[in-house]
Symmetry: C7
Subunit: 91 residues, 7 copies
Amino acid sequence: MKIRPLDDRVLVQPLEEIESKTSSGIIIPDTAKEKPRIGVVIAVGTDEDLREKVKEGDKILFAKYGGEEVEIDGKEYRIISRSDILAVIED
Amino acid sequence: MKIRPLDDRVLVQPLEEIESKTSSGIIIPDTAKEKPRIGVVIAVGTDEDLREKVKEGDKILFAKYGGEEVEIDGKEYRIISRSDILAVIED
Amino acid sequence: MKIRPLDDRVLVQPLEEIESKTSSGIIIPDTAKEKPRIGVVIAVGTDEDLREKVKEGDKILFAKYGGEEVEIDGKEYRIISRSDILAVIED
Amino acid sequence: MKIRPLDDRVLVQPLEEIESKTSSGIIIPDTAKEKPRIGVVIAVGTDEDLREKVKEGDKILFAKYGGEEVEIDGKEYRIISRSDILAVIED
Amino acid sequence: MKIRPLDDRVLVQPLEEIESKTSSGIIIPDTAKEKPRIGVVIAVGTDEDLREKVKEGDKILFAKYGGEEVEIDGKEYRIISRSDILAVIED
Amino acid sequence: MKIRPLDDRVLVQPLEEIESKTSSGIIIPDTAKEKPRIGVVIAVGTDEDLREKVKEGDKILFAKYGGEEVEIDGKEYRIISRSDILAVIED
Amino acid sequence: MKIRPLDDRVLVQPLEEIESKTSSGIIIPDTAKEKPRIGVVIAVGTDEDLREKVKEGDKILFAKYGGEEVEIDGKEYRIISRSDILAVIED
């Protein structure tokens, strides 16, 4: 079963808080009210320009409350829009 | 009797909560305030770009409160806009 | 006396609730707060693209509170914009 | 003394309620909160596209609260924008 | 000392209420909440399209609360945008 | 140390109220709630169209609360956007 | 580990208040409610036009509450949009 986001959205699997601290060296300060989250891109939408800039497997930093929450086979995913993607993290 | 949505809308038949859990492996967590819904596309609007990306028979994930509710021959349908379509689900 | 809507508007004669139920098989559920209405297009505006997609005599589904109400020769009509037209109903 | 509306506006002389009922067969139902008004176009603005669609002397249906009120030589006129013009009435 | 409005603005010298009543035959009814004002154009901004339609010395009808108030050599002027200019009055 | 505003902004040094009264003959009436201010342009942003219309050294009239306040070497400056620049004052 | 901002964003390391006072001569007056901040650009997004105007290592003045806060290896950074970048400071 494959999810194909429409237009300039991506399907992202958010990393748990601890995971996101250690693996990428990025810690999102608690002080930041709406601290952004880190996750792995599972699928990229149909927008060609976005597909050039963000790839499946990329680790991204995204706005905490962006997009919609879906659960697939027991795991939490989010479908977010391009405007909620802050940066790509290159290890 | 056929419904032809205008512009970038689609006519979708929402799947019941249980149906959407089993058939596509997707469970929409109750925690998500406005959990998106799953449905089958019955008709695609006149917008050519949209017709390339979404086809009759596609199973889609769409924003819970998007569009307008209509009942045809006793069954519930919704007419939603492109911006409410989150993703296409490919089994 | 003829009404020529301007730009992307149409003049529509709403069908009564009962009429809309029987003739087109479409029943608009009372549950839908702003249940859309059904009507017959009397005149299409000057917008060329709209004139390709919606014709005089078409039966359409439109947003309940869209447009302005006018009474002509004792009958109720509405002048609505393209964005309030949800779909064309083909019997 | 001539008023030349700027851009996509028109100068319109609203017809009195009674006048508008008899002459054009159009009655604006009291029920419609913001019932549109009928008037005669006195001058059309400088916008070329608008000048093709609306002419001096046309009888038009316009949004009740659209535009600005001015009194010229003791008579009431309104300067309204294209978006407030609903339709042209052809007797 | 010359004021050169930027972009699609004009510098206008509003006529006093009485002046505006007699000279142009236009009376702005007190009933109109935000009754428009009459004034003489002192300078036109740098926007070429606007300079074709409105000239220095033109008498204009403009939205009462549009733009900013400035006093030059003891006289009241206003710097208003194109969208606040309703019409040009040709005596 | 040089400040290079980005895009369609300018760095302006506001003239004191008294300075602005005498030197340019312009008095901003206290009655105007948000009376515009006068200042000298210190640097113009990277937007080419703006650089044609506003030059370093120009005296300008700008919206009172536009932009951001910065102090450089003990003097007050503001970084404002094009939309806050009302006019250029030519002595 | 490298952060690659997406589209027209930049990753900036804000300078502490004291640092920003001495090194660049710029003092942000306490009176300015939302006083802008100074920082050093660590990475520029994928937007080509922005990459011509702002470079890694540039010192910039940016809107205080712009963007999102992230902490990397114990240091505070912000990911801000182009619209929050006021100026580049050239020593």
